[in-house]
Symmetry: C2
């Protein structure tokens, strides 16, 4: 299946919802015009469509292959990676000082989404490298930066994150890898790391591992962890590759999906290589015992990026399902028995396609708004704006990660269903998205980890301040919707279903009133849930944490629904006469569908959250040993 980057929807979100004008007005982006943004994204779209999308199936079929400690990528991946590197895509949102383009995260986000939509397995390599670059940008020493940043940005070297060990998954307190300081200031690292994405491969000449390990005298738990740079090859005096370091790929995993992405078991200090005994040579990042704090920089970037992966897989699955449904003739028209139709004319298939679209577009809108907030948090001249945007971004990261990836599993599953029996046949391609998507709510922190973050650090810590401000802003949008609906929408009275069916447009006050009605109920559900979390957390923490994932999903549905409500208002501005182009008519329809069919989930979630006490007690009995 060909992939087509959704440039029009991306630009709509940037222009109308994520405040691209405001971001481009920030200090440091003087050279970045709206035209440039569009040109970059169109170029990016072309690149991923042509160079990466065609490799998605072969990567799935062939998989990365391990033999004797080396990993061979599927045919075509190395060539594509060299093209990716040569075009400068790795440096898109990184500092010009190190050879990057210095573009806003708000531009980097859609570029990253497209990359992942074209080829999820491929894109994990740049995703991890982005994380290493982000960490070194913030906490690397000047020497570390000048040694590692240029080759990483050029795509000559790639990066990894090494957190997990067999006994230490979500629980980093259990990290046991050792780091022993040497007289020359370097460290020797030993231990085993698992689930290391692109821990070994043949795409680039060197791999820079960021590794969590424990120094001998460090305290127990997460406070005793330090962060180290461990390159696969050391750098020789002249800057060329030097000694082979003592880090080795013992095996790669046989996984449900993302087959082309090698998931490595790495052994540090096996006593091989060219650095002698005692472990792999590592360089301390920042100070000892601050490793987790630094790793969070990388993890926050990666969590946001994995949220984008969710949107990417959703977009890809949607395109595949749409194309199939538009071609597959089966059954007869509901309003004209006897006339054969393609299945995208059947109401149930329309429900599935519209659900896939609404979930994808709404998650995209929310994620890009978060990206814009990140840019403002770093560069806005007003300190209060910076602070609010930082708080907003921090609040949204677990939601973007959890919500977009849980949605991706649903969207990919619907994508299979649209295909009927053909969806279950591997050659069709829909099944790959269903398999690939399943890792997204797990890695870089499961949805539960995101949800605990949202409850603990993002809701309870500030006493619900950010949540209250969001509710206030959502109510302002609601008031605008209600005013527009009362004033007759764009074009006088609502046209009703049959007239709209005939003209092929959703229009008028009926639709805005529908959105307002459902959005209001969703805001109420959100407010109730936030109040419950604030009131109950200290009295019945088990009840609140039992409901943390529902709380995250509710927050996602309402905040993404807010963006869809704003999108509906934007469409009414753009199509004041009621007649519009196909894109905006479809976008408005997507907003209506989201309100009617997706937003009601917030009611069910709120009810469940508020019954948390009884549910938690029941769950405890159920799981009693």
């Amino acid at each position: 299946m060909a992939f087509s980057a959704p440039i029009q929807d991306i630009l709509f979100v940037l222009d109308e919802l994520a405040d691209l004008p405001g971001v481009l007005a920030l200090p440091g982006f003087e050279d970045c015009s709206r035209d440039l943004v569009q040109a970059v994204l169109e170029e990016n779209g072309k690149f991923v469509e042509q160079a990466l999308a065609p490799l998605n199936r072969v990567g799935d079929r062939v998989s990365a292959q391990w033999a004797d400690g080396t990993v061979t990528m599927p045919a075509g991946f190395a060539k594509a990676f060299h093209e990716f590197a040569a075009a400068g895509w790795q440096g898109l949102q990184h500092d010009t000082k190190w050879g990057g383009q210095g573009l806003p995260k708000l531009v980097g986000a859609p570029a990253s989404e497209n990359l992942n939509a074209a080829n999820l397995s491929f894109s994990l390599c740049p995703l991890l490298t982005d994380g290493v670059i982000e960490a070194l940008t913030r906490v690397g020493s000047p020497e570390q930066q000048s040694a590692f940043m240029p080759p990483l940005l050029q795509g000559r070297w790639t990066g990894t994150m090494n957190l997990t060990e067999p006994q230490a998954g979500s629980d980093l307190a259990r990290v046991a890898a050792k780091a022993v300081r040497q007289d020359d200031g370097t460290y020797r690292i030993s231990g085993q790391k698992i689930f290391i994405t692109y821990g070994e491969h043949d795409l680039a000449e060197n791999i820079v591992h960021l590794v969590l390990a424990r120094t001998p005298d460090a305290p127990a738990g997460v406070k005793g962890i330090s962060l180290f740079i461990v390159p696969k090859f050391l750098t020789a005096q002249d800057g060329s590759l030097g000694a082979r370091n003592d880090v080795w790929c013992a095996s790669i995993e046989h996984k449900l999906g993302i087959h082309a992405s090698p998931t490595a078991v790495l052994l540090y200090g096996a006593g091989k290589g060219e650095v002698g005994e005692g472990g792999a040579v590592g360089y301390l990042v920042g100070e000892e015992t601050h490793g987790l704090e630094y790793m969070f920089i990388m993890m926050n970037a990666a969590r946001f990026a994995v949220g984008l992966q969710g949107i990417a897989v959703s977009e890809r699955a949607l395109q595949q399902a749409q194309a199939y449904a538009a071609e597959r003739v089966q059954g007869q028209a509901l309003d004209n028995p006897g006339r054969s139709v393609t299945i995208d004319q059947h109401p149930d298939v329309q429900r599935m396609l519209a659900s896939m679209r609404a979930l994808t577009e709404s998650a995209r809108a929310l994620a890009y708004c978060a990206a814009g907030a990140r840019d403002k948090s770093l560069r806005h001249p007003d300190e209060r704006e910076r602070a609010w945007n930082q708080a907003l971004f921090d609040y949204l990261v677990p939601i973007v990660k959890g919500f977009s990836t849980e949605n991706a599993v649903e969207v990919a599953s619907l994508g299979v269903q649209v295909h009927g029996g053909m969806g279950f046949i591997e050659e069709t391609g829909a099944a790959q998205h269903y398999r690939d998507a399943r890792i997204l709510p797990i890695y870089e922190g499961t949805t539960a980890i995101q949800a605990n973050d949202l409850v603990g650090r993002k809701t309870l810590r500030d006493g619900g301040k950010v949540a209250a401000e969001l509710a206030r802003r959502m109510r302002a949008t609601l008031a605008e919707l209600q005013a527009q609906a009362d004033s007759g929408g764009r074009s006088g009275p609502g046209t009703g279903a049959s007239a709209a069916g005939a003209t092929g447009a959703v229009s008028g006050s009926g639709e805005l009133a529908l959105i307002a009605r459902r959005f209001e109920a969703a805001i109420q559900a959100y407010e109730q849930a936030v109040a419950y979390v604030l009131d109950t957390a200290s009295k019945e923490p088990r009840a609140v944490y039992l409901g943390s994932v529902p709380y995250l999903m509710l927050s996602g549905f309402v905040l993404a629904g807010w963006q869809m409500a704003r999108a509906a208002l934007a469409c009414c501005r753009i199509m004041p006469s009621g007649a519009g182009d196909a894109f905006h008519a479809r976008k408005l329809a997507s907003c209506v569908f989201y309100a009617a069919y997706i937003l009601p989930r917030t009611q069910a979630l709120a009810t469940a959250i508020l019954e948390g006490d009884g549910a938690a007690n029941a769950a405890l009995v159920i799981c009693k040993k």
Copy 2:
């Protein structure tokens, strides 16, 4: 992962919810005692645990293999099938006249569930054979019955259903396979059939295909389809296998899951074999052009059986996740930081495990109630009881099929999530359930096909009569719950969460009140949805059919929730003092959790259904070409 047949829960459902006593009192079951039922199910459990469960992984890994028209099953499958046949399991619920055990469907259902839970791919073979037996029982001629029933019941031969062709999936009007009558009364069948489960294999000596095909002068559409028996080998005069018929397996599919179940492309009339030119030799079942009607007999049996498969995969995924979560140590106790715990002590993992359990148990209860209704519809001495039970069974079949299988996808996905990163590794086994489960909402009629049946033939046709009677009966249960809750449950005032946590039991009126509160809201949601469907179907059919799957799911959640509410009342009867054994305490907790966390979905579904008009209009715009 070992599998353990959930005999205790099965017996609870049979005894307390599905009226096993009433079924055993039916004419024809005089020889079947409660003790016999338990003994049969325990024996069945032992057989599937020992002979079938261990083959589940190897079947997935090795797959059925095609070469030169023959299919070789994974090692161990043939031996297991011979044991299955020798023990008489194929004939469990079939007529003693042909060598069956003649047990109620209410006993056959759990036996079939266990079979499928142990090994889904294996069990598809007996499932299809059951369908052929059912069809020949009702519409086969005496000659056909005596020729085919004994070897089918003995497991010497197996059966298949041949509906689908490349252009005819859900739309059987497009069936193009040809059947030409010969002078000797036989037919010659030619054409291509796809997606034929166990269409070729090496488990049995012969395969009996039931094939839909069209006679030359038949009308177009579904009314021109006839049904034929086409055996792989004809029967010689002495009853031994005769000439090789002209039906050939051209290939098998490379599928997302159920790898050991061969999904065949079958060619009829390729001009090979030992029956000469003109097509495969076939025998007309019943009369010409009544094929679809006969096939529906088989399909209804198969749809119900696929519903059981959904419960089976759910049970298997639940057991796998529970076992992993009980062993995996990660993180610290919420109420005692510093104490390491297994992950099944974390609230979010408890939410997932409890959700998996509640979805599985509720779907089981509903399916068994349907099975009991089927037995009564066939054998009850009172004609009105027969009629009501037939109407009830017909109403429930699409729900059991659609609801249980959609749940299975969710449960299997939660099962992966419970495992975290390990869930994505194929060797763990959780991923297989996620892949296997995905076919269930597709084959034997997609969820949309079930939902259209529920709306059209099961709700609109009788003007909502069955639905109204169900609502009335649910309200009776609700009244009972409310009365019990008001009278203080089993043991005086509710104990509250912390006390219950300490005693390890959910008990008292608080919990019954919770169930009553949520059940009442769910009944209201159901009544609203039914009324909407009845009111709107003729005015806005597109709105109603857009909401057909939500309508099916809503019906499933409330009807299964009804059984959970009845189960809660039964638990209170069984544990009148408030203290009970672990099984009933856990069952009551499962009912509470279902009410608190699953039933609220009915509100969201009802809201979406009632917004159907706006949503349908929007979906039409979204899918406009």
